[in-house]
Each structure stands twice: as structure tokens, then as C-alpha cells.
Symmetry: C2
Subunit: 104 residues, 2 copies
DNA sequence: TTCTAACATTCGAATATTCTTATATGAAAA
DNA sequence: TTTTCATATAAGAATATTCGAATGTTAGAA
């Protein structure tokens, strides 16, 4: 590894890998992964997800907020309901697919 | 989504997604990602990594221990040195590649 | 054997994450 | 307008993560 590649690594540590790590941290929770899975074929409102995963409503809302603040999910209002969906399905699902391929 | 698929999601929450999340949590740190990058073309000893990433030796050792305990890296002894390498390069690098493809 | 280089481990403080409980908000039904 | 349903937010305790500082370990050089 030459000097230029070394410089590169240090910059990536502060830049690219910092960004990647932030994103991975958002995904690194079983409930959030399950939410992404639940949304892979369309839209779900909060009560749907709550019933599906058998987790308390405030907890689901908190996880949805984390995903939303990181641009992973978004919602549309439908009366009293909020219909959540994946912002960029191919991105989040690509990670899930890669994990599926490489982990037992 | 039918009832069988719903049951499936709950089981995955305790099983598959728990495993995935554990793995992602290990990767979700900029220094650990940079270590994986540094090892992608071969072997590095601790002092190599320390100098490369400009991080303290104990801290590098701590991160290497986390990666090692999760089966992501391993080492061979060479005198006083420990030569670290990726246990399963294709797996860890696949995640990095997917992130590279989908994140800006 | 003593010293030193290379690395690991321990401890503790600072910080971050997670979940539960309680409460707030806002849309629509009554 | 009052109530209710769907969801969000806040507060706080429990737990986990992270890093620096100090110390331990071990292989080989001197």
C-alpha cells in the first residue's frame, strides 16, 4: 500500500466510513430490520406494524421515527392513519439481501 | 399478507433479524469498517493498522478483538507480531460493496 | 536473565441506545 | 363539541458502547 492509499484510508475514516457506519447503525436493530421487511411489498400503517411484530405502539413509532429521520422510510397521511413505505426500496433491501446471502 | 407470513415475521424478529442486527452492529463503526478495508488485500499486523488509521494502539486492539470475537477477522502469529486477515473476505466485503453502491 | 517491542486487557467516565410508562396531538366520528 | 382512534413525543431507568489511561503479557533481542 503506497502513501496515497494510506492518506485515502484516513480520509475515508472521517468521511465515507463514518457515513456507512451511521447507516449501518440505523439498520442494526432487529425491529427496524423487521419493519423494513414488512414494508418490502408495499405500505403499512403503524397499527399494522404493531400487530404484525407484536411490539408496543410507542416503541414501533420510535423505531419508525429513527428510520424516517435517516431517510429510510416515509409516510403519507390517510385520515387518522400514517401509511409508511420505504423511501428507496432497492437500497435498504439490497443490504438485507446481502446479509441473507452471506449469513447462515 | 396472510397469517402464515405474519407468523414468519415474528419468528424472524427473534431469529434471523436478531442475527443480522448483531452482525450489522459489529460493522457499524467507522474504525472497524476501515480495518476491514485495510485487510481487503491481505494481511496487516496491529502496528500497521495503527499507523494506517492514526488511532491509538489499545483502541485498534479493542476493535480487532470485537471483530475477532464475531468471526470477522483472525490472526496468525509471526514472532511478536499478529498478522490479521479477514476470515471470510467475500462476506464482509460484500456488505461494503453494497453500501458503496447504494450510498452517495 | 533483563530489556524491549508488539500487542492485549482492565477500568472507569462519558455518552448513546433502548424500552416502558405516561401524556400529547390531531383527525374524524358521534 | 366531545369523544375516540391512530399515532407521536417526553421522561426516565436500565443497559450498552466507546475511548483514554494504565497495566499486563509474551516473544525475541541484547
Amino acid at each position: 500500500m503506497n502513501n496515497q492509499e494510506k492518506e485515502h484510508l484516513i480520509k475515508d475514516l472521517e468521511g465515507k466510513y463514518h457515513t456507512y457506519a451511521e447507516y449501518l447503525k440505523v439498520l442494526a436493530h432487529p425491529i427496524r430490520l423487521a419493519i423494513i421487511d414488512a414494508l418490502k411489498e408495499g405500505t403499512c400503517c403503524v397499527s399494522d406494524v404493531t400487530e404484525l411484530l407484536q411490539v408496543s405502539q410507542p416503541n414501533i413509532s420510535q423505531h419508525l421515527a429513527i428510520l424516517r429521520l435517516h431517510g429510510i422510510v416515509e409516510y403519507e397521511e390517510d385520515g387518522k392513519k400514517r401509511c409508511y413505505s420505504l423511501c428507496n426500496p432497492s437500497s435498504s433491501l439490497a443490504i438485507l439481501a446481502t446479509l441473507g446471502k452471506h449469513l447462515s
